[in-house]
Symmetry: C2
Subunit: 231 residues, 2 copies
């Protein structure tokens, strides 16, 4: 049974790559950079987005695609930002998909005016396994880990911490109340993804929020440079 | 693509049910009750198990099956309890399975002396979606939610909060440091699973640990009563 299952999943991953490439072509045509924001449930992705996007991004026009199994709680929370927000639910079919794939993202694109955006942030379903396996046509991936989850997560979910360009250590304000050794976390992270960039943040105290905003705001510029270099 | 995918998954779920029934028959023969312990990554399942199983369970002989994508960190942490602990990794194949299924659990059974156990606790992979979809032959399911994850989780992952007999609200010691309203959480939980039993716990302060231990210790007795009634 296992052998068959792996084959089926690999077929699905092939199909996913094809559709991710089509998304990528659409994003390039519209000159929009795309960030895939991933984490475990409750790591604080939406609260971070509120903090980062609230004050605006210095001329970078941002939009958000919210992925959730059910409901539109996260999209509703972002409504006050007055930026384009689209909610995508994965609960059609059986009990719900545990990740966004390229085709789900593709199905949401008609609801977004890509030409009006420089940066699209896709907030994935909270999960530390499957989102890392399904590319959606993004330029960059961010993995958010909350200190409340424990310092051992890079070793327990290695692919997720490897398949990203930035690791955000969030809820850093809770550090004194939980058993989380930041040095040990970075040591474990180094074993699965040496030299990945790390930003520590707290949406409550504001720590690291400007740094994260700057990192996000630079993604479109990086993309244009890369595209320019490729021509 | 989506329609095909759902059919494949439903086939996989059919196969899973067949194997879960075989596990169930083995558990019944050995007179061992089985609990499926589920949560998001970092909700504190292993730390709770250390707190609950450490002092012993009043004559209930317990064992643990640890499910993780990679590594044996959790099994190592339980080694000092001197009870049977088996580590099961799901990272064969592609990037790792995001849940335990009945066949994975079945593959681990030869490593366990079921006759020497009254209670087997299966710690699932940290994930709020797929573990709820795959029965493993268990008698009861526990869903652990940490207050650090936020009060909205029952609405965002409804199947997980519905497919359990007990909801444990863990890390209650962090309540004053996070935005989590316990009444609101219970109100949301009531919308997806009315009247489910709830225990609030903190492995650090010990709150609720005795209550959780009593609940777990009563599972084998409940199972024997049910089995007796069925004869």
């Amino acid at each position: 049974m296992h052998r068959v299952k792996v084959r089926v999943v690999e077929d699905a991953l092939d199909a996913n790559t094809t559709i991710a490439d089509a998304n990528r072509a659409d994003f390039d045509r519209a000159n929009v950079a795309v960030v895939n924001l991933m984490s475990a449930p409750g790591a604080g992705k939406t609260t971070l987005l509120e903090a980062v996007l609230g004050p605006g991004m210095d001329g970078v026009r941002a939009g958000v695609l919210e992925g959730d199994v059910a409901g539109s709680l996260d999209a509703d929370r972002l409504a006050h930002l007055h930026i384009p927000v689209v909610q995508l639910n994965t609960d059609g079919g059986f009990g719900g998909e545990c990740h966004l794939d390229a085709n789900m993202v593709r199905s949401a694109l008609p609801a977004l005016d890509l030409e009006a955006l420089d940066l699209l942030i896709v907030e994935n379903v909270g999960n530390l396994v499957c989102p890392a396996e399904f590319k959606i046509g993004e330029d960059a991936r961010i993995m958010v880990a909350s200190v409340a989850e424990g310092q051992d997560k890079p070793l327990k979910y290695p692919l997720m911490f490897r398949a990203c360009e930035l690791v955000v250590v969030n809820k850093i304000d809770l550090l004194e109340h939980v058993r989380f050794d930041l040095d040990k976390f970075r040591y474990y992270l180094d074993q699965v993804h040496p030299d990945v960039h790390v930003i520590t943040t707290s949406a409550y105290t504001g720590e690291g929020v400007d740094e994260l905003r700057d990192w996000l705001a630079a993604v479109p510029a990086r993309e244009r440079r890369t595209a320019g270099a490729a021509v």
